[in-house]
Subunit: 236 residues, 6 copies
């Protein structure tokens, strides 16, 4: 499922299909080779009770893996208990998207960005942020006619990518095989302007030093620049 | 979203994409115009505890609507409580698929057929049965090499369609607008050999008589013959 | 527990005790030989939030089997998860009862019909509908003095019965032993005027053809006529 | 609903119908005027996992009020959360019944005593203990032929009654009206031999002194002697 | 952990640290040798919805054992199901505290008294009542300046202690070892004025007679007098 | 509650009380001024089912805030739903502690580290890691006599601290007031040898650049060196 000969500093191939669900133009099928995520943005003309009457909007995200997205089949999150990993991921997606939205300019509206993983091959949370931003931007473009990125509720684009250290080599955009083999993995969320919004680096029964950190961040920024370009292209 | 000029006795256009999820050949994207369902069959080499040691297999189904499949957005079934409609539908799908499987011939294996609605425009439960059968048949073809429909664990094909009475006219294959307007609606599940497996007819604050019942069943059987043909084509 | 010599086209003996719970005249102990169901109708002077302010009432049903109603003992539906069968049955009861109620004539009132099975010997869902109608009609008679069936919120009576094919013979009113042996079973809900409200026919790892369907429906209609007579007698 | 002229030291009328559910001889319909409880004992030939292999049996109880047992209607304990009152009551019933059972003599068997309130008019927990004992004793009599109370797994009978202080007068066997008016209420569980098993006395925004306590206990013991007599009569 | 030579009619040593949580003066660390409970009272300027607009306040309690309070470690009450023992205890604490509060004088305020057991060595529920009263009284003293016990929302003090019969000897204040060995155990809640609020006596597979009951109550009253003294000292 | 004049590069005062719960030497009361966390390590001689038979141990953590730890009172995590923040924090604590444990050397044992916040004034998750390590090390020291940090199941010490940017100034060890005011906050987990285990940096509706990142990491490493010293002192 992974691209065998991909150099360590290259992204996987990206394909973005905007308007994938015919009835919702703010729906995106985001593929980076074996990872396929369906991102849809749904807008409501109201805000959650705790935000009511404050002249601000809200953006939130939900993340789920379809049962058929993994082998063996993944059980649904149904028994009243969302697993910890899901909770963490959907909080990260929501926080990242809100970082580039001017909630006051959005007005008293809520947008839910649903990220449903159709096939999982590593990097589903970063794909959800990158693809989810496109759905979100499209939904806002429709809700606030005439707005553009940087001039309206969307202040900048945002994208995310993973990096990691596998056999002492820093890699960009880990697929599942690389992710399993990685001693350190990092998810980085960066704006179109190149500013960090989130850095989550974790040693999996391993540690990392300052030099390794620097190399992981350099790779991430390179990948983000390319993703930003693809996002803007899809939205054009 | 609905095909405006469709005659009352015609099916919607059907498109079947087998192998939609690259990593799982037993995955089907089933479209009947505005209704799009992703059906995947996952096989496990064991059976649920209550069936263990009896030399039989098991087939079950789960049904879910993605949040973006409807407008307004549909909330996820997460709070520990699956709604009654979902429960009814997934029990119907499972029962219908088991009707054509020889569980002894299947051996001690379980197959879960997941039906996830990507876009809902009426008829999602019948689309799930019709598309789910294709995924199931493919999974069994892989698990039991050399088996064919009628000669192996799959005894016959099975498909389902809705009919209903709208403004006193019997219609085949109700889309959402027709479904909302229907006084009576009926879901019919029929084998490739033309035998009934399930009939569920309901008057929605309305009733129906013997003649209307006969017409609804006649239309359903006509539709099923066409669906059966398409199923076999997709599996060929 | 079953009546051994009962002919295939005969109902079981029915006994109806209206006012079984002394404090609630709209309570019915409904017995058809080994199946005993306590049906009570409780009226509230308000409607659920989603119906508020629309000048209409609501009728709903809950179904439960007491732990001692079966052998071995049935576990209570307590762990936050109502089983699928229970959900299906109580939705069917509610839908059937609403089919004969003019919710606008009822006004902004809610009626909950509770059907608690005291002893189960097949046909608990149809007994719940048939007995539940009596409780409902009594509750409405009290709430809307002067109203009668057909002239007031209750438009017609409604009753339900099962039929099935056992060893190739069509039977009326399946008790537990017949139900277990049946290849096909069907629940039919019919109004006093003889119109269908619901038909649910299911082949249990079996199928049925048009002639069998016709015979099952003929038997059901015969049984319903007799049940309707007993309902009206009890309410007189 | 209450017996208006009942003297403060008299029990309500008791009616005990053993074998109320035809298929289970260990079922009891216990009525003390307006309070009606269905008690059934169900035996299993195994014990809970935590007790396995220790040569002892187990007795437990479950308590529930049917929705129609009160006015207004009582909601079912379904949402995954059993209310605190229910929990307390069923623990009390189980503990009380176990107090007179020799669990070693019972052997590796479990008995569940279900107490389902059909109509509630005060004293449902004590009725559940008194009636539940009859069902339990009957179930053990069947399971251990030849055993009798005092000679076999059942060491003694057990019964329970409430007392309370209403307008400074000590009353025996509070119905709902008395219970609501009581400043102090007490539930007392006593064996056939006259020994205490449980005393639960509570001041409801009130207190009580030693003399009042003595009078409440004296009344309770009087009532228990009469209940014991009726229990043995029913089992004879 | 238990004081080995403690005479049967003596309390364990009590230490009370008021203001244990620096930010909340109404917090108490209550120690009776091996049993350590943190009691905090939190005041809100509103009442639960069911009490709104009636000019009365509310006092409630929650009880929990920290995982490290027992050996082996106690699992948290997290899975949506509070165990029956916890429910009973926190209802008892709340009821006991309310017995000495004039809810009308409290006004439309709610106080939650949290009792979290840091180390458990028997008697955690009575320690929670005795310590919880101190936290409650302090919270009310702050909320209603100038009020004192007996003159303001607090009508009297309240304290609780356990007694029990161990090897035929009546003991005061059971630690864990005594509690496990006890045939009968009793929790008694008494006001500063010496009136009973609650008596809960239970034979654990044992029974007790009138003389034993009298001795258990005598010991309890003796213990309560000493506890009352310590409570007033801590609040002074 | 915060130390007003603390320089931006200084830690708060730390107090560590090992053996706080008398019955468990592996219990720690960890205070950094207004933040107080009780950390206890509980050892079991078995592992979770999914790890059984693999010759390895397991370390996990649970985190909870006592209701009285915040003002207004924090509701307990009881309704079957642990909030997302709690889930994230306890996963972080567990992952961080496991980073320095040799699970093979630990053998088939499980250790649960409970972190219960008694008073919250910012930095509860980092305090939980730093204090939790002390409890964990003590538990292992007892379980594996003769082992020391670096020579036995514990490979190194581990500690955590927060940093953040407040009004464009980088601060070490944010208390609640600083945390609320911060535009960027970061939690850093570092071993005694100075290697990173986890970096979590988040812009709260803000972003950060490379220079700011470098300064935040420098401060964190300084703080960790001091914490490591205190940890070793407490364990000495």
């Amino acid at each position: 499922m992974t691209s065998p000969a991909r150099p360590a500093d290259q992204l996987r191939d990206i394909q973005i299909e905007l308007g994938y669900i015919p009835s919702n133009p703010a729906s995106v099928l985001y593929r980076c080779e074996g990872t396929i995520v369906l991102c849809t943005a749904s807008l409501e003309a109201s805000v959650p009770p705790w935000l009511a009457g404050r002249g601000k909007g809200w953006v939130t995200a939900e993340y789920s893996m379809l049962p058929g997205s993994t082998q063996p089949r993944k059980q649904r999150d149904r028994g009243g208990k969302i697993d910890g990993r899901t909770t963490e991921i959907q909080r990260l997606i929501g926080r990242s998207l809100r970082a580039v939205v001017d909630l006051v300019a959005l007005g008293e509206r809520s947008i839910t960005v649903d990220c449903d993983v159709i096939q999982a091959d590593g990097g589903t949370r970063t794909a959800s942020i990158t693809g989810g931003f496109i759905a979100l931007a499209k939904a806002i473009e429709i809700a606030v006619p005439g707005s553009r990125i940087g001039d309206g509720p969307i202040r900048d684009s945002i994208a995310a990518i993973s990096t990691g250290i596998v056999n002492d080599v820093a890699h960009l955009d880990l697929d599942y095989k690389l992710d399993v083999a990685a001693d350190v993995d990092m998810n980085v969320v960066v704006t179109g302007a190149g500013k960090f919004v989130e850095i989550q680096g974790t040693g999996e029964e391993a540690t990392f030093d300052d030099d390794q950190l620097a190399e992981l961040l350099r790779l991430a920024k390179k990948g983000i620049r390319e993703l930003t370009h693809k996002q803007l292209e899809a939205l054009a």
